[in-house]
Symmetry: C2
Subunit: 238 residues, 2 copies
């Protein structure tokens, strides 16, 4: 089953017909090496893409060479449903690690939404959840301490990966470098490094060898003022 279907089914009941329709969406699968550009800034794609395996990031680059990651996409994320309506990319999408992405044409998206308006709303929901995540990031960046931001990010990612069915037991593979985490949280590597050490020393969470181990999720969430409401991980008729 597609991780996307699994993630959707954490948010609403899907009929067998809808699952069939989703599984029959024609995906052109492409593999990307770490750092490769998946969708170029300013391009006008004719397809949307979904992460099948690995991580991808949306990012903006600045004049001084600085980078800001505005979203991290994990397996099951319908990354570029936005572009179906925005038409022009205002940012680029790149592979974080070695990853596989599926492309499907706007035509097939439109056909699916016309065949099932409910599925159309679920596609819409997927973009709206992305927006909720971005709002949470804005709050983190504006008002939380560095240690809290890191903790918040680690909590969020655990729940998202769990929803996609690729994390459990409070642990998951996180293929990010500290530089990338800095670009994501809007901080320098050096500072990330130091605060990460402080966070590790609390023993609430570990991150080594590309694996995150959350030893005390509740305490970590408490530290980060993390409230999972914004992830909409509840089954509701939508």
């Amino acid at each position: 089953m597609l991780p996307f279907v699994r993630a959707l089914s954490k948010r609403d009941r899907l009929s067998v017909a809808e699952i069939t329709l989703l599984n029959s969406l024609p995906f052109r699968k492409v593999a990307f090496v770490p750092g490769a550009e998946i969708i170029a800034e300013d391009s006008r794609p004719g397809e949307s893409c979904m992460v099948m395996r690995g991580f991808a990031a949306r990012s903006h680059y600045l004049r001084n060479g600085g980078r800001q990651i505005t979203a991290l996409h994990v397996p099951g994320d319908f990354v570029d449903l936005h572009a179906y309506l925005l038409k022009v990319m205002d940012h680029g999408v790149a592979a974080i690690n070695s990853c596989e992405v599926g492309f499907t044409s706007y035509d097939s998206i439109r056909r699916a939404t016309e065949q099932s308006p409910h599925l159309g709303r679920l596609f819409w929901l997927s973009t709206v959840i992305d927006g909720a995540v971005q709002r949470a990031w804005i709050t983190c960046m504006g008002r939380l301490s560095t240690k809290q931001r890191i903790a918040h990010f680690l909590c969020e990612l655990y729940l998202r990966l769990e929803a996609a069915g690729i994390a459990s037991d409070n642990r998951y593979a996180l293929p990010l470098t500290q530089t990338q985490l800095g670009d994501l949280l809007g901080l320098s590597v050096v500072h990330i490094n130091r605060k990460l050490q402080e966070l590790r020393s609390t023993r609430l969470v570990d991150w080594k060898g590309g694996m995150v181990f959350i030893n005390d999720f509740d305490a970590l969430a408490e530290l980060a003022e993390f409230d999972p409401t914004y992830l909409s991980l509840r089954i509701e008729p939508r």
Copy 2:
């Protein structure tokens, strides 16, 4: 004409039937005094709302009493279309100044989208543009200097107000206090105050008596690395 219709018509061609349909959406209009809560955090609204007059803000509050504004909504913004799909509010919406808001039920939204799938996509577009604005804010907060952040915000708001038909000639009414601007950009009032003075001293922009005067939009945009692509202010078939 609704400012919402005006803003949409900057992004796609609307048929007469669609404009009629929009104008016939039943809106229950409510006036709010400055600071009043329009939608409560954690509530489950049964209606979406649109700003008719004045400004409204989404915000998160933190344990220490801090506040982060994650979106500023101006006349023509269909503020709470998100909740149509999210169901539970993960944040509150409050009036910035004295404002008028129109509420319309999820039922009428659903009827309109079923009557016109194209209008449905335009509603979806409206939420996706909100997301694009949030991504731009993330980049601002993470990687721009304070002066740039202020400048970026002032540029963005001018274009959004112009699209809604309530700003022109590089000037507009901005009913924010410096404290609110700080909550929006994730900075303290004191710092906002000092950097605002520096920005004023460049003569690129003025802000006094609740009015913003952009003396040199291009130079201000250049300073802020502002690229309006993300606002999707182009007519495209969507």
